[in-house]
Amino acid sequence: MLCRTANDLYWASRHMERAENTARLIDVTRRMALLPERYDRGKAEAAPWRRALDALGIAEPVLARYGIIDADTVLKHLLLAADNPSSVFSCLRAAREAARAQRVAITAEMYEDLNTSWLDMRGTSWARIHGDGISNLLEWIKSRSASFRGVTIGTLGRGEGYHFLQLGAFIERADWAIRLLDIAGSPESHDGHESQDAAEYFRWSALLQSLSAFETYRRLYRESVSAERVAELMLLQETNPRSLLTCTHTLHQVLQTLAGGQAMEAVRRAGALSAQSRYARIDEVLANGLEAWLQDALARLSGLGDEIHRQFMVSTDIAQLAQTQAQNAA
């Protein structure tokens, strides 16, 4: 398979996964914004929306650009802004463009599915979203992502192309598992007030609901919703299809298939990440500081992404050339 093809397929599924998770992020943020103000200091200053941007690390640039952070600004920026490369609008466009460039490598149904999503998205305006309701749009985004995933699973042959689509989807989803956990707030700020307990319960259950994970949680723990358990579910539980463990485990497997027994740095990194989430204990993670653990995982994920790119998406002759030049320069 061409390096360019591998790269395009990887990003097509990454962008669809990103669109879906952005919808989930907005969903959980809207739920949290429903909390009465006395439960959420700073709500008047749109604290939940600010937290959503913080989780993505983009609060400062958004504030600088729009001069204000409120619900409408964040919604427009995350859903519609054509100049935000990660807005749902841009994601659907990028996924469709990548698929258009790689029509040969995917099935006609997959392209038609992405093309339909894009044509509908292109016809959407802020006025129309307001008229139809944000919830409808969020449901639509999730169903478009599910549709693409379904058509891919149902029609594409299990070759290299399928594997690169998997890599893109799961590396993106792993990233969001961490960021979405971040948005519900850190579990340590406890001072025992009942109002705070209620607010915390509300937030964590909002997160579970926006991930459709509430039922999984109940079946698994049969106890009240707690920060510790939610963190465990999001990071370390294999039964949760969106957990960090599930994602890194899948990445490891797919990379092993692609390597075909060859020693490969990407396989080693994915294996190490997967083992880290498989054998960690949530009480230890919390005792040593969740934030640091999450930051470390994010950095290692990003390193894995770079390594996948270097291994498969940069042509060997360019790599060799760079090496030779480096040697000559030395």
Binding site: L2, C3, R103, V104, A108, N115, S315, T316
Partner: protein, 472 residues
């Protein structure tokens, strides 16, 4: 302007024999149902993404080529004549190319002016003396045909560089078979579906000698190109890689694709980019679309390019008047298909005549394509004609002129219902060890009333083309 030959109706209004089955269907099908199927066709073309982008418009502006439900039908006996004529013409054009880049017999005999060929901007000096595999230069050809007032066919132009549109031929057929299956059971319609298979066959046959299992790739300028859909479509139908210039590199005179598993040899390139962009080290140095070193690999016989560089000299409009002469010279046969009478404005007499009759003639730039750079006298204002006159006078040798043919018409769905619109026909011819003439082609239709310009970039549409088997 005369209405021209009507493909479906006789002058007194009767339905021609080969359209009678279609006419019965048309009369027995409620209008609402036809309308529904037309809408269905449009939605389907959009969803599948069969679009093209228009040069000069904002990027990403993809348009649908309008598809018309009324097929163009060619009776079997007419097609037999066309097929023989196309085969003959493409054969002679290939012999001409092999000759002008080789021995140049036809120039020595003085049958084609030496300067016209050798000083032509489409003549590639770099190809002098190169022997191409099987002597085939134009592997894929598209010959544009029109019918004049009496129903006689004429060749309007030859396309031997990178002729496009074949994906529409295939998709139009697929659409018709889906929307109107009942019509296909009423008549024997020759299938066109084998085209991608025949294309792969001739490309593999063109591989450099000694390669048992050649790797074929389609080379595209990229997804911003107006014909990208077609490039992707053909690669997919043939099951070969679709590559851009940056996906290929040349090492030790061999061409490789950059793949996830390292470099992979490529033996045959169906290139859909123009000569001058193929290799920046030989042709245009600013080209980012091509592959540095590709031409050296080609010259060394390590890779085949289809079509060969330099085919443009045979389809140039200034060389077109000599094609009948080529047929007589190389094949000792009389041409089966006729040329449109052509005035060559580099000749003084022809120039004088043309300047006196601009309002009646069609004037074309010899290197122009796509309906750009031409004057349709009867459809132009006085000011447009005068402006064009100055352009001709500045460089007469750059133009040819032809009588305005009253192109044949075919009933077409327009706002006001069914109405006659002008059409042309581009059949596709594949040359390998054998010459394959695909029974059908792309029928283009000028959707504006009275317009003779069928190019999709100028608001033309397309129709399915049915070649009937046996009988009428």
């Amino acid at each position: 302007m005369a209405n021209g030959f009507n493909e479906m109706y006789e002058p007194l209004g009767g339905v021609r024999p080969h359209y009678q089955a279609f006419d019965r269907w048309l009369n027995s099908t409620p209008e609402a149902q036809i309308e529904r199927r037309r809408r269905e066709a449009e939605i389907s073309f959009h969803r599948v993404g069969i679009t093209f982008s228009v040069y000069g418009e904002e990027s990403g502006n993809e348009r649908l080529i309008p598809f018309d439900l009324v097929p163009r039908i060619v009776p079997a006996v007419e097609w037999r004549m066309l097929e023989a004529g196309l085969r003959q013409r493409v054969h002679a054009l290939n012999l001409f190319l092999d000759d002008v880049y080789g021995e140049q017999r036809i120039l020595r005999e003085g049958l084609v002016p030496r300067a016209l060929v050798l000083e032509n901007s489409a003549y590639r000096q770099e190809m002098r003396g190169i022997r191409v595999p099987g002597g085939t230069w134009s592997h894929i050809s598209g010959i544009d045909l029109v019918r004049a007032g009496d129903g006689e066919y004429y060749v309007l132009e030859d396309n031997l560089r990178v002729p496009s549109g074949v994906s529409y031929m295939l998709e139009n057929r697929r659409m018709m078979a889906r929307l109107l299956p009942e019509l296909f059971s009423r008549q024997q319609i020759a299938p066109v579906e084998r085209y991608p298979d025949a294309l792969l066959e001739i490309l593999r046959e063109a591989a450099p000698a000694g390669i048992d299992n050649p790797v074929v790739a389609v080379l595209t300028p990229g997804s911003a190109n107006s014909a990208y859909f077609e490039h992707a479509f053909l690669a997919q139908q043939m099951g070969v890689e679709l590559v851009e210039g940056a996906d290929l590199f040349v090492r030790d005179l061999s061409v490789y694709a950059r793949t996830t598993r390292g470099p992979q040899r490529v033996h045959v390139i169906y290139r859909r980019i123009n000569d001058e962009y193929l290799d920046p080290t030989v042709f245009r140095p600013d080209s980012l679309l091509g592959v540095p070193g590709l031409f050296d690999a080609y010259r060394a016989g390590r890779v085949t390019l289809a079509n060969a560089p330099g085919t443009g000299v045979a389809d140039d409009k200034s060389v077109y008047p000599y094609v009948p002469e080529m047929i007589r010279f190389y094949l000792s046969e009389d041409p089966i298909l006729h040329n449109v009478p052509t005035y060559q404005l580099r000749r003084e007499d022809d120039l004088r005549y043309t300047l006196e009759h601009l309002a009646e003639l069609v004037v074309k730039e010899v290197h122009g394509a796509g309906g750009y750079g031409m004057l349709v006298g009867p459809a132009s204002t006085k000011a447009e004609i005068e402006e064009f006159r100055l352009r001709i006078l500045a460089r007469p040798e750059n133009y040819i002129a032809q009588p305005t043919l009253s192109l044949s018409t075919c009933p077409t769905f327009v706002e006001s219902g069914l109405a006659p619109r002008h059409i042309d026909l581009r059949p596709y011819i594949l040359c390998g060890k054998r010459i394959h003439v695909i029974p059908g082609g792309l029928t283009r239709v000028a959707l504006r009333e009275g317009s003779l310009v069928v190019n999709s970039s100028q608001g033309g549409g397309t129709k399915d083309t049915w070649v009937l088997e046996g009988g009428a």
